[in-house]
Structures are given as structure tokens and as C-alpha cells.
């Protein structure tokens, strides 16, 4: 196993020993001087020229900035209206502008050594146009300047819309800001990954943005760069200074932000149109997910969606999850006997412990039918094969009530 690095390191170590442990000046070692010069070249004029061809300007030595406009049609207007009262489901209508945000990083871990080298934000500027701004880090030492510009771009008076940004992109940025001692007043963030999971995880093979684009938005990217190759391109750019290697990375990043705009519009549409979600999107969404997202705003409509689902094919048509949720919402709306009916079905046919407990509660406190409640309790113990302290407690209380002692 002849390892060239190892050989070289051993040689270096021996050189050091020959030199008698003297502190190294670095430049005496083999081949170092050449390396430094090559590095110097990469951030020079040649690099700038190739980046200019990709549409980048250099407002200062540490920043490469690209600004493009894209016509996206009616979605732009849709987004604009969401920011005004009364807002949408995910967007509060408080007038704060939305910034569709994405970062490309040198690694997939959120550790200290992962650098965000491309940060972008898109915003709607008219009823059919968005403006996309991309900031590129020309080389590591310029990071403080780059971050200062990033902080100007992503200001606290806006609202970020991201895809997995909460647990990754902003996390990396936060770490970069901390390390370079720059300040970033971080804006609020709407992460579309969570809504996407609720609506489509049951029907999509995975929830990567490219999958969502293809199946939900009907966008097929041509010649897209695999995400894993993005850092390699950046390292190649740093090494050679050839901006051309970044062409696909820049395009990929830009497309990500355009897709974010479309995705937010699609999600809001699905929720708006539910339960008639047939024309809202390419991909049918999961009614349980829709109902769960709607419930905080519009319980009646959530109930309607679930009821349709449950009624469509008799008991268990919508599956136990839909029934459990429906019963829960009905209970919240005070429709106790309707809820109890569902629990009863779930308990009898589905052996659901949770439904049994709800049913027993209903029988005991609403119907005051202690015998029936007791029978359900015992049924649960029979089904589950074991009791729990709270079931024991309930059972004992019911027995007392049946015996006529009023204490509970």
C-alpha cells in the first residue's frame, strides 16, 4: 500500500528532523512556493472575467453578485396577495415581503467547517415577475464581506421561505456568522418541507425538492446537476478560477428558488381549494394532511374533508387515521354523539385502544351509562391483554359509581 501522501509526509518529517526541530517557515518545504502562486492567480482577473460571462458583477473585491428577473406568470400575483391581509394558510398577511431563500454549501453536515458559498433570495416585484439575487463567495478569506452582504439581503423585516432551511441552510449560515464575528438579525422563516411532507409524503417516493418539482409542480429540469456534485464544482472553481464550472450550479440554485415560489403557491392553492383538490395540483394530496393543516383555521372545512373521505367507502374507507382525526375534531366542535359513533366503530372493528378510552369517557361523563362504560373498559383490557394504571383507575371508579357510591 504505497500511499503518496504518507510518503511525502514522512519525507517532510525527516526533513524536519534533519533541520534539528527548528520551527518551519513553511516556504522551505518542497513545492510550497509554486502552490501559493497558483492560489493567488485563481482569485484574479481571469476568474472575474469568466464570472462576468455568467452575469456576475463585483460591487467589491469580496462579493460577486448576480441579479436576474424571471417572468413566472400568475403565481407572482398570487404570492403578492398572500402578503396582504388576510394572508394565507402559511403566510400571515402582515405586509412583510417574502424572500425565497436557498444556500449552497461545501458539505452536507452542519459542522463548523461547512461553508455557504452561494446564497440567494428571490422576491416578487410585480404581478408576473420575480427578481433573483445570488451572492457568490469568491474565496474563503472574503467571507466576512460576503456575510455582511448576506445579512443586508436577508433582513429581519422580511420573511424567509425555504425548503429544509430551518434545519440546514440557516443553521450553516448561523454557524458562519458566529465564526466570523458578523451579526445577522435573522428573519422569521417558513419552511415548506414540513407542509410538503404533510400533503404529499404519503404519495411521493421521497420529499426531495426535485421530486416535488417533478410530481407536484410538473417541472422537469433539463440537464440538472446532481446535488452531490455541487461542492466539487465550487472546489474546482476555487482551484482553477474558471467560472464556467459554476454555470450549472448557478442555474440549479436559481431554479431552486423559482420552484420555491411555485411550491408555496401550490400549497396555498391546495388548501384553498380543498376538498376539491382535483385542479389545484398535478398530484393528489393526502386529505388527512390537508385536514390537519386546515384545522387551525377552518375546523368545519377540515371536518368536511375528513367526512367525505370516511364516508366515501364505508367504515374504514378513509382508514383509521382519518377516523381518529375526524372524531377528535367533532369532539372539539361539541358534536359528541357523532364522535362517539366513530370511536365505537374504531373500537369494535379496529381494536383501537385510544378509541376505546375516548368511548369509555364519553359513556361515563356524557351518557352517564356506567355499565356500558365498564364493558368498554373491560373490552380494552381484553383486547390489549394488559391494563394500565389509568384504566385500572377508571374501572375502579366506574365500579364505585355502579355500586352507588357517589365519589369519583
Amino acid at each position: 500500500m504505497s500511499d503518496p501522501l504518507y510518503e511525502r509526509l514522512q519525507r517532510l518529517k525527516r526533513t524536519r528532523q534533519v533541520r534539528g526541530e527548528e520551527p518551519s517557515t513553511g516556504t522551505t518545504a518542497v513545492g510550497v512556493t509554486g502552490g501559493v502562486e497558483a492560489v493567488g492567480k485563481s482569485s484574479g482577473d481571469e476568474a472575474d472575467a469568466s464570472l462576468t460571462r455568467l452575469g456576475f458583477r463585483s460591487p467589491s473585491s469580496g462579493i460577486r453578485e448576480r441579479r436576474v428577473f424571471r417572468r413566472i406568470g400568475a403565481d407572482a400575483q398570487r404570492i403578492r396577495r398572500l402578503c396582504e391581509p388576510p394572508g394565507g394558510y402559511l403566510v400571515p398577511g402582515d405586509g412583510k415581503p417574502l424572500l425565497f431563500f436557498d444556500a449552497e454549501t461545501t458539505g452536507l453536515s452542519a459542522g463548523a467547517g461547512t461553508v455557504a458559498f452561494l446564497v440567494g433570495a428571490a422576491r416578487v416585484i410585480s404581478d408576473d415577475t420575480i427578481e433573483v439575487v445570488q451572492l457568490l463567495l469568491p474565496d474563503y478569506p472574503f467571507e466576512p464581506e460576503f456575510l455582511a452582504r448576506t445579512a443586508d439581503l436577508l433582513t429581519a423585516d422580511s420573511r424567509l421561505v425555504s425548503y429544509n432551511g430551518k434545519s440546514f441552510d440557516t443553521h450553516v449560515l448561523r454557524s458562519r456568522f458566529l465564526q466570523s464575528g458578523c451579526v445577522w438579525d435573522e428573519p422569521h422563516q417558513i419552511d415548506l418541507l414540513y407542509s410538503t411532507r404533510r400533503l404529499w409524503s404519503a404519495v411521493l417516493s421521497d420529499c426531495r425538492l426535485s421530486t416535488v418539482e417533478a410530481c407536484v409542480l410538473g417541472v422537469e429540469r433539463e440537464l440538472d446537476l446532481p446535488g452531490s456534485e455541487v461542492p466539487e464544482r465550487y472546489f474546482a472553481f476555487l482551484d482553477t478560477g474558471a467560472g464556467e464550472v459554476m454555470r450549472e450550479v448557478i442555474a440549479h440554485h436559481e431554479q431552486d428558488m423559482v420552484s420555491l415560489v411555485r411550491l408555496l403557491a401550490a400549497i396555498e392553492d391546495v388548501l384553498d381549494a380543498a376538498p376539491d383538490n382535483a385542479n389545484a395540483s398535478v398530484m393528489p394530496s393526502d386529505p388527512i394532511g390537508v385536514a390537519r393543516m386546515l384545522a387551525p383555521y377552518d375546523v368545519e372545512r377540515a371536518i368536511g374533508i375528513l367526512r367525505r373521505r370516511v364516508d366515501s367507502s364505508g367504515p374504514f374507507g378513509g382508514g383509521p387515521a382519518a377516523m381518529v382525526m375526524l372524531a377528535g375534531l367533532l369532539k372539539r366542535r361539541g358534536k359528541h354523539s357523532e364522535a362517539a359513533e366513530i370511536w365505537s366503530v374504531l373500537f369494535r372493528y379496529g381494536c383501537s385502544e385510544l378509541a376505546g378510552v375516548e368511548l369509555a369517557k364519553h359513556l361515563e361523563h356524557r351518557e352517564r351509562d356506567f355499565e356500558a362504560a365498564l364493558a368498554v373498559c373491560e373490552g380494552i383490557i381484553g383486547v390489549c391483554g394488559a391494563s394500565t394504571p389509568s384504566l385500572d383507575h377508571r374501572r375502579a371508579r366506574l365500579l364505585r359509581k355502579i355500586a352507588g357510591s357517589p365519589s369519583s
Partner: protein
Amino acid sequence: MSELQRLLEELENDNEFINNVTRWERIPESAGEFRPLPDDLSAELADALRGRGIERLYSHQALAWDLVTRGRHTTIVTPTASGKTLCYNLPVLHACLNEPATRALYLFPTKALSQDQQAELNGSVDYGRLPVKIATYDGDTPQSVRAAARTTGQIIISNPDMLHSGILPNHPRWITFLRNLRFVVIDEIHTYRGVFGSHMTNLMRRLKRICRFYGADPLFICCSATIGNPNELASRIVEEKMELIDENGAPRGEKHVILYNPPLVDRVQGIRRGVVLEARKLALRFLRQRIKTIVFARSRTRTELIASYINKALANAYTENDRLRVESYRGGYLPGERREIERGLRDGTIHGVVSTNALELGIDIGGLDAAISAGLPGSVSSAWQQAGRAGRRNTVSVAILIASSHPLDQYMVNHPDYFFGRSPEDGFVDPENTYILTDHLKCASFELPVRETEPFPDFAADYLHALEETGVVRFTRDTFYWSDRSYPAENISLRTATNENVVIVDATGGRNEVIGEIDRSGAKEEIYENAVYIHRGRQYFVKSLDIENRRCYVEETDVNYYTDAIVKRDIKVLYEDERHTLPDCITIIGDILVRTQVAKFKKIKFGTHENVGYGEISLPEEEMHTRCLAVSFPPETQAGRALGSLSPESQPVVIARLGSLLKNIAPMFLLCDSRDIGVAERIRDPHFGAPALYLYDNYPGGIGLAETLQRRLGDVLHAGLDLLDGCPCAEGCPSCIGPRDSRTEIDVDPKAAVRSVLALWLSTTEVGT
């Protein structure tokens, strides 16, 4: 007179016992030296101490307080159960109370020890309701409590592996903690020797570097068991000038240390009664008098065996009275089980425990009266650690070391002066090891760009420039930036053993319950198909072992035998990188494959230990691809002539002895631990066609030891000759060529034979230059 004293008297007058005792050493009691609680100690903390019955300090605790509060880096070396933890807990808790922003990091080599320390601290913190937040942060810490631990934990208890792969690479999340880090406590620092220690030094360099970045400059407090050079080792690891505290001020009851050699059952073949049955017999004598006893066994299987023998015997004697509880304890039990046993030992509901060396380290199990070692552990310091488990402040205790037929045990037991007189082994580290330093430079540059002038150490830039050529770092504006997609700490392990444990699942009657775990290589040797696995006295039959998915399914069983795998090791030369044909010998540097195969197992009957059958094991070989230095002795070289001067029968023995000698001497030159080097000898080596001795790096891929050994071979051999000449032993001992082993020895005097070969070999030219 206590039960133990009565029993000791009885043993002294018991001819059957005393005739097998080769040394009975009485270590007198010592009254202890006390100091009052420091005046400047926080009142809250002083009250909490008094609440736990601590009115004054031992002198070493008071000295530690003085040094640490004066801002000195300190090493503390005192025996087990001498109140070592208070030496660092006192100044740390005091600082946390006075200045709540204070943060401290405690590093323990194992997770079990961290747990124990957390329990100990929680004890003292709860007692006085001291408002100090303590959190364990290791691989077992649930994600949900990690964030709180990072931001509010004042004392974080962790291990080096977590610091390396979890904390430092994510330091921005630890900003509150690191900015206020004032103390770093490294307990059991003697475990960081050799390669592990070299990693540790570099890890501390990384920690100090990140601390500097956040403006912190923590004080180091290190604790060590007795080794030859504790303070030197500590200062090599933290790279600071350390003050040493090595005078124990704790009172100590009288202690008896007994070396016991089981009687011969076959004089002709020199077979002695087995340690398992002897240990059982002795332990029962103690336990029946309700004397709290710990038995140390050499392997996991023996631990289970001895425990179940003891329990069986107790069940017969106490059928109506099972108040005597004896448990087994070893790695591989689930954390909950281990905690329960530790607690039982502390609160007295468990009277006896049989353990592997897992309990050798500082886990608090309270005071025990008797420690029995069933077979001596590998080193003198380890033997003293085990003996130290018995011992209380003011009552008598006893440690009995039972020798096995292993030559090392036999040497110790027959040369008690060696055992009692020898100063313990030194610990070495080589943080400048090319492989290790390079690995940590990768991690360091991931954590924070490295300036060219940064002393990590001062020649780090040479290494970083080499790394730049491989593309993982980028050098620009006098600084090295990490420039790779990977997370370097993930692929760099501080230890040899992988963390890939096999989980043992009890599938009896459709049950599906995890009962334990075992490391990968251990799995192949202990839980192969058809093996009998013993877990806390219960027998399980291994239905299937799925190494790939790291699962083993077992079912409860009740058979009258246990199983023991036969392990074979084999070496294959893959290729030679360098061959030196010298007049004195031939050496090669190259790659070898060390293959370990378990192909068969024995079924051994409980009680009588007779062999009642064999079984086949069909498991793939365990392979380690590593670097080696091979020394060959062809007849035309001086080394070959030297070896050829001996009779053909004694040649293999002498080569093997030479291997032991080099393994003993090389760590001094390679700054490693002897466990880091593997040795194998072959009298008819197929690769060389001549006798050969292999010395290899005991790490997959190698870490440069073989290369260094090649360069220093001449020095090492000369040092070996000097060692032989200076060693006071008569026929070889564990410090030089290994103890005499009557089973293989042909020569009248192996030491003289090895010496003559070495002297003849070195008589002509310089070696290895």
C-alpha cells in the same frame, strides 16, 4: 474482631490454603492526614459537604484545592477510593457557585464512568440543593436534551470520542459553553497511552485552539492511577506545566495481599487446579461470612461461569435463605442493568460481584472487603488496580491473586519480589506521529481555518501543505481552509475497536427483547451459531448470528456445558515496499494481512470442565490489513548464523522470546504502548524461506510504527541486549524475554540462549542502517 479478621486467621491456620500461598503481605493501616475545609470555600458548598458527613479534607484534597485555586494545572495520583473526585469537584463546584457562568468539561475514557460521575455529582449537588447544572453528553444522550445541555449545563461530562466527533466540529453550537470554559478534568489519564494517548494530545490541542478562539483559557486537572510517569504523561497530553500531587492523605485500614498458586494436580505435566474453581471456593468462604467480595475474571465467559457456580453453591446452602445476592458484571450488559448492580453494591443489597476488568476503573461501587483475582491481569499496575477494589478507610481488607498456569502468572506468583517491588510501567505518547497528526490537522482545519504560523505544533504547516496537494485544504492568504465535502472526524477513530456492536436478541417463545451487546470481534469468538451464551447466569443457545446486520438471536436453554471457541491467527505478506539485504539480516517493510479465524468450538462440561465435544463454526475470517516490519534470519546473514548456532529445537523458542523482548523494549523508542504492537514469529516462514519475526502495527492500515521501528532497529536491538544484561532475573521474566514456560522450554536457560544469539548478531556490523 471482624468476620474478615477471623476468616484471615482461619486461612492462616488452614494448611491446605497456606501451603499454596507464595507471599502474604500485610500493608499496615494508616491514620490519614487531614486538613480543615478551606476558609475561602463557598459557604453553600461547605454546608453541603458537612451534610454528607465531610467535616475536613484529606491532605491531598486540600493541596489540590490550593493549587487549582492558584491557577495551576494539576495532576493527582492517589489510589482507588482515596476521595480523588473531590480533588476536582471541590474547586469546580465552588467556581460554578461563585460565578454561575463558569463551565467545566469532565472527560472519562468510558461512558460507564461518565454515568457514574454524574450520579456522584448529583449526589453532592442534591444534598445541599446546590444550584449547579450537570449534564452527561455522550452517544447515549437523547437528542431532545442535547440543546439544553449545551447551553445551560455548567459541568458537562463526556468522553474523548464525543469531544472529537460531536463537540469540537460543532463548536458554534457550544459557544456559551466554550466561551466560559474554565476547567477541563481528565480522569483516568493513565488509559491514554500509546496511540490512544497520541490522539488525546492532538485532541487537547484542538480543544485549546477553539477555546482561544472564544477567549477561554481553561485549567487542566488530571487524575491517574499509579503508573511510572503520571505527571510526565499528563503534561505530554495537555502540553502544559503540571503540578503533581502524589501523597495520599486518606486513612486506610490494614490490608492483606496474598499471592496464591493453586495446587498441582499433575506433577509430571505441571497442571494446576483451575482458577475458576479455586476462585469459587475462596469467594464462597468469604461470602458465607457475609464479607463483601469482588471476583475478577479474565473473560466474559469466565465471569458468568464463576458467578453461576457461586450462586449454585449458595442456593444449596441457603435454600431457605437467599439473602445473599451475587451478581455478574461485564461490558455487554445494558446500561440499566449495570447501574442497578452498581447501586446494589453501594447500598449493600448485593453482597458479591464477579466482574471482568470493567470494574477495574473508578466506577463507584462502595467499599468492598475482599477482592479475588481469578488469574492475574496483564500488567502489574492492572493487578494493583484490582487489588485496590478491596479496601476501606478503617477496617481490614484482603486481596487474593490466584495464579493461572499461564507463564506470566506463574512468574509473578513465584517471584513475589518482582510483583511487590517493581515500579509500574511508564506511559508514552507520540503526538507527532505522522498519521495521527495529519488526521487531527484535518479536523482542526475543519473546525477553524489554520494560519500558516499557528503552532499546532510549529511544523504543522509542512503537513498542511502536503494535505493541500491532496485537495482537502486550500491555502490562501497565509491560511489553510478546509475545502472538502466530508466531515473529517467521522472517519477518524481515536480507538482501535470499532463501535459496531452486535446486539443480542432473546427470541425465546417469540419474545423479541434486546438483552445485551458485544463488539464485532468478540461476537465472532463468543456468540457464533450453536454457542452457549451466558447472560447474568441464564443460559442461551445461539440460533443465528447475523454479522452484517449486527444481530444475534438467542433462545433460553438449559444444558450442562458451555462453549469455548478455538481462535487461530495467521499472517500473510501482501507486498514488500522496501527490502534491505544487509550482512546481518534481511528486513522488509510492507503490508500484511493478519487473519483471525474461529473455526471450531469446544463444549465444556460445567463443574468438571471436561471436554465433551466439538462443533464447527462457519464465519468469515476477521482480517486486518496493516503495516509490518519483518526481520528474516537466512543462514548467510550474521543473524541467521547466530540463530543457527542453536539446536534446531530451541530456535523457535528463542525467536519467540526475542519477539517478547522487542515488544517490551520498542514502546520506549516508538513512544507507543506495547498493546499497539503485534508480534508473530515463524521458524519456517513461507515468504522468506527462513526463520522470521514479524512486528506489526496493531491498527488497520498501520500508523507508522513499523516504519519507525525499521529506522531504529539497531538501537532497539542494542537496548534489548542492555536490558537483558541489566535484568536481575535468572531465567527470563515478564520485563525482558517473558517468564519461563515449562511447557515449551527446551533450553536450560532461555535467557542465556537469547542473549547469546543477540550478542552474536550484533557483534559484527550495525543493524538496520
